[in-house]
């Protein structure tokens, strides 16, 4: 740990880097202020909408007559609405905000045409709004993760072009030769998303493939969105935030290189693990299972790299909100991937294939891994955009623990309930309804976890709102989770 007593420092600011560099950084941050804050504001608004939807969905699953009998409040419409709000409203917007900011910082270039990006964000919001409305009014396409009707896809695509092209074009104006690890992931994400999205739309709606291949394309799309879009952004963010906050370079560039390319190569092949034992040629599923097992290589290298970077600095998680959330996300990446391997193995999949385990898996990926990492980045970035520090350390702590316990409890409930559900489903001596009866108590537990997550999201939204209104603290020291003296006095 740093000897000055303040354990969290921006080394370049404090040390060699002169005023020039600080000034430059301030300029770059300022250029991203409008679009990134717009991304974040919309993302958090969608997060609240999606959370409310999630609560209704979760409660309706075990209390089906709640808000029953109304077409746009029927479970089968609220569920895809929740999913799409979270995926396209919250996660994509928040990820894009973080990615644009990181891109500008790492290219050491001011963001050009920030208002165009903001316009793109506005378009994207309109697209998600129309899409969710369409789902609630009964115009869903029926393809999981791609429920938005075709006309919404067009809007999203235009919006995406407006947003991402400038982020990618920043490379043209970048200074310095080195391309940092984070930039690999972000460039990958920015290019993979439109390709994957276009391929999905093309093969499902424009020139639709035949029969079961629609399902293959759907899950290929969904897994690639999870890995190559959200996963890539989150990993890139973690590679920036962890070294930055602890003020220490990444342990190994070589490990990072291996991790990045194996990640790109293998995780893009995992889609068919959602369809194990389905009506497909066996090689497709086997290839995906093999690829899923091989994703252990990037998991190991990335995890090792983060771990070795963090080594000796773990106590800093006591103070830094960013670090705490980011490390939680990075660790969840390992858990998410290991569980992904386990449930893709044929012997396990035949039990858990049609159970709540797949919901647990999706939430591990999208929440425990991606969302937590992005929360961490928001705690780092927002103060630099609004020029204020987070107002209450206690609220941040509350946010973290409610989120961590919420997602932990939810995952446990869904995994345990799902395994029991699957075991009963595969026991022909028991009636099918038994498998449902088995999982219902766990679904109630999941609703409890949902309440925790709801609390955490409302706290965070409130805190973010204060920052947006300029009600943050004015201070030169970032907001710590615990008083710094506590550590020094306790430690000595």
């Amino acid at each position: 740990m740093n000897t000055t007593g303040i354990p969290l420092k921006d080394p370049e600011v404090s040390a060699a880097a002169g005023d020039m560099e600080q000034l430059e950084r301030a300029y770059i941050d300022a250029s991203t202020r409008v679009p990134v804050l717009m991304f974040y504001t919309s993302a958090i608004a969608w997060l609240i909408v999606g959370t409310v939807l999630a609560m209704v969905v979760s409660f309706k699953l075990h209390s089906p007559d709640l808000l029953g009998g109304i077409s746009f409040l029927t479970w089968g419409r609220l569920r895809p609405a929740h999913m799409n709000v979270m995926v396209y409203g919250w996660a994509s917007m928040a990820g894009m905000g973080t990615a644009v900011w990181l891109m500008a910082r790492l290219c050491r270039a001011t963001l050009r045409f920030p208002l165009l990006i903001a316009a793109g964000a506005a378009f994207w919001n309109v697209g998600v709004l129309i899409g969710v409305g369409a789902i609630l009014l009964g115009d869903s396409t029926g393809f999981q993760w791609l429920e938005f009707p075709r006309y919404v896809a067009v809007i999203l695509f235009v919006a995406y072009t407006l947003m991402a092209s400038w982020a990618v074009l920043m490379f043209r104006y970048r200074r310095g030769d080195q391309i940092y690890i984070t930039q690999w992931y972000l460039l990958g994400a920015f290019l993979w998303f439109p390709w994957v999205y276009a391929a999905g739309q093309l093969m499902l709606f424009v020139v639709p493939v035949q029969g079961v291949l629609q399902s293959a394309v759907t899950w290929w799309y969904a897994n690639n969105l999870l890995f190559l879009w959200f996963g890539a952004i989150a990993l890139g963010t973690a590679y920036y935030m962890i070294p930055k906050v602890i003020g220490r370079p990444v342990y190994s560039y070589h490990l990072a290189t291996i991790g990045f390319w194996t990640y790109a190569l293998f995780s893009s092949w995992t889609g068919m693990t959602r369809l194990v034992d389905g009506p497909f040629p066996a090689w497709m599923i086997t290839a995906s299972i093999a690829a899923t097992i091989l994703t252990m290589i990037p998991v190991a290298t990335v995890g090792l790299n983060h771990h070795l970077t963090m080594q000796g600095y773990f106590p800093l998680m006591r103070y830094s909100p960013t670090l705490r959330f980011t490390v939680f996300g990075a660790m969840s990446y390992t858990v998410f991937s290991v569980i992904g391997v386990l449930i893709s193995l044929r012997s396990v999949a035949s039990y858990v294939n049609f159970t709540q385990v797949s919901i647990a898996y999706s939430h591990l990926g999208l929440y425990a891994f991606f969302t937590m990492t992005i929360f961490g980045s928001m705690y780092y970035i927002v103060p630099r955009l609004v020029g204020r520090e987070w107002r209450y350390g206690s609220l941040i702590k509350l946010h973290f623990w409610a989120s961590a316990y919420g997602i932990g409890l939810m995952t446990l409930m869904l995994l345990a309930g799902g395994f029991l559900q699957g075991a009963n489903m595969e026991n022909p001596a028991l009636p099918f309804s038994e498998s449902i009866e088995t999982v219902l108590p766990y679904l109630r537990g999941r609703s409890l976890a949902g309440i925790l997550l709801t609390v955490s999201h409302f706290i965070f939204a409130y805190h973010f709102g204060l920052m947006l209104l300029g009600l943050g603290r004015t201070s030169t020291v970032p907001t710590f989770l615990n008083p710094v003296e506590a550590e020094t006095s306790g430690g000595h």
């Binding site: 007559d65 009998g69 479970w75 089968g76 419409r77 093969m203 029969g211 190569l265 893009s268 038994e434």
Partner: protein, 340 residues
């Protein structure tokens, strides 16, 4: 890493690799399947479905049925889907060639529906309201010629009584003690429907009173008939009190009886029944979604998949699981003889 070019090429290459590998090559391999037929070119399966089926699929998609119901039967050596009477063989890519979207599903909070139409009682017993009669007819399967909805006037359930050793239900299998036995009209066919365990030697213990679902409930239409589906969609808990399926009341219209009660009015009982002088009738969407359900039927044999029960998959051989056990109970042994 230096330079953008290798990075860009790598990013593009990994994407292209997975895109070609998991979508393009499979399309080339199984993306242009044709229906199968026997030597004479008759008995074609699968066939394009009716317009109501197609519209019903959209209602099914719009209301998210696929988030709880899968439509795929796994092989008997992998899972016990077939033992659960969700089908008499595993699903094959060819089963889905006319379906768009395909609802393979990822969750079973409800039963698998790949063969829900095959479980329906034969048409003459099913007062299918709302035009669902035709798909329902597809499920009178005595001979395999009846697989397509339109070609289904096979009125000879007696064609091959009892030739299926594994599946045929003794028509008079008596309901175990304690099971509700009240049946709308006590025909043997419906009795057969009331004996889920009877058709499944592996599951004798499933007969504990009140536990297994679905069972034929007193006063309701024959299970899996179109009329039953309507009641089930309108008031799931009137059929199974523990069901956690949402009620799709918005697909039905409550109206005052004008003159005579409509033929397709729902046969509701108890608290779900409308007051005197009122009736609940399905909207067109409800009729379509029921027509869709009644059309889901993969009981027709396919050459590439072994039908469980030992019968060769050749076209003319009777599908082992599709026997009427006796003339009167045509639904007795349909592939999905009642399920729990």
């Amino acid at each position: 890493m230096k330079g953008l070019a290798p990075l860009f090429i790598g990013i593009f290459g990994t994407f292209a690799f997975s895109w070609v590998g998991l979508t393009v090559i499979p399309t080339w391999q199984i993306g242009h399947l044709n229906p199968e037929s026997d030597e004479e070119g008759t008995d074609i399966y699968p066939r394009p479905q009716s317009g109501m089926f197609v519209r019903g699929a959209h209602v099914y998609a719009a209301n998210g049925c696929a988030y709880c119901h899968s439509q795929q039967v796994r092989a008997d050596y992998i899972a016990d889907d077939i033992e659960r009477k969700w089908g008499n063989r595993r699903s094959a890519p060819r089963d889905y060639i006319f379906e768009r979207p395909v609802f393979l599903g990822k969750m079973r909070m409800g039963q698998d529906l790949a063969n829900i139409g095959a479980r329906a009682p034969a048409p003459e017993e099913s007062p299918a309201p709302g035009g669902a009669a035709s798909p329902a007819a597809a499920t009178s399967p005595a001979t395999t010629t009846a697989a397509a909805p339109a070609s289904a006037p096979s009125t000879a359930p007696a064609a091959s009584p009892g030739t299926s050793p594994a599946r045929a239900v003794p028509p008079n299998a008596s309901p175990p003690p304690g099971q509700p036995t009240g049946v709308a009209s006590p025909s043997p066919g419906q009795m057969a429907n009331t004996t889920p365990g009877g058709s499944s030697p592996a599951a004798p213990s499933a007969q504990t009173p009140g536990a297994p679902w679905p069972i034929q409930t007193a006063g309701l239409p024959p299970m899996y008939s179109a009329a039953w589906h309507h009641v089930h969609l309108y008031a799931p808990r009137s059929i199974n009190p523990d069901s956690n399926m949402p009620a799709y009341r918005f697909l039905y219209e409550r109206r005052r009886v004008a003159g005579e009660r409509s033929a397709d009015a729902l046969q509701l009982s108890g608290g779900d029944a409308p007051p005197e002088g009122w009736e609940v009738v399905p909207t067109f969407d409800a009729k379509c979604v029921v027509a869709y359900l009644m059309g889901l039927n993969q009981s027709h044999p396919l050459k590439e998949v072994r039908s469980v029960g030992g019968a060769p998959a050749a076209g003319a051989a009777p599908s082992p699981a599709s026997q009427g056990a006796a003339p009167a109970p045509p639904a007795a042994g349909s592939p999905a003889a009642p399920k729990k």
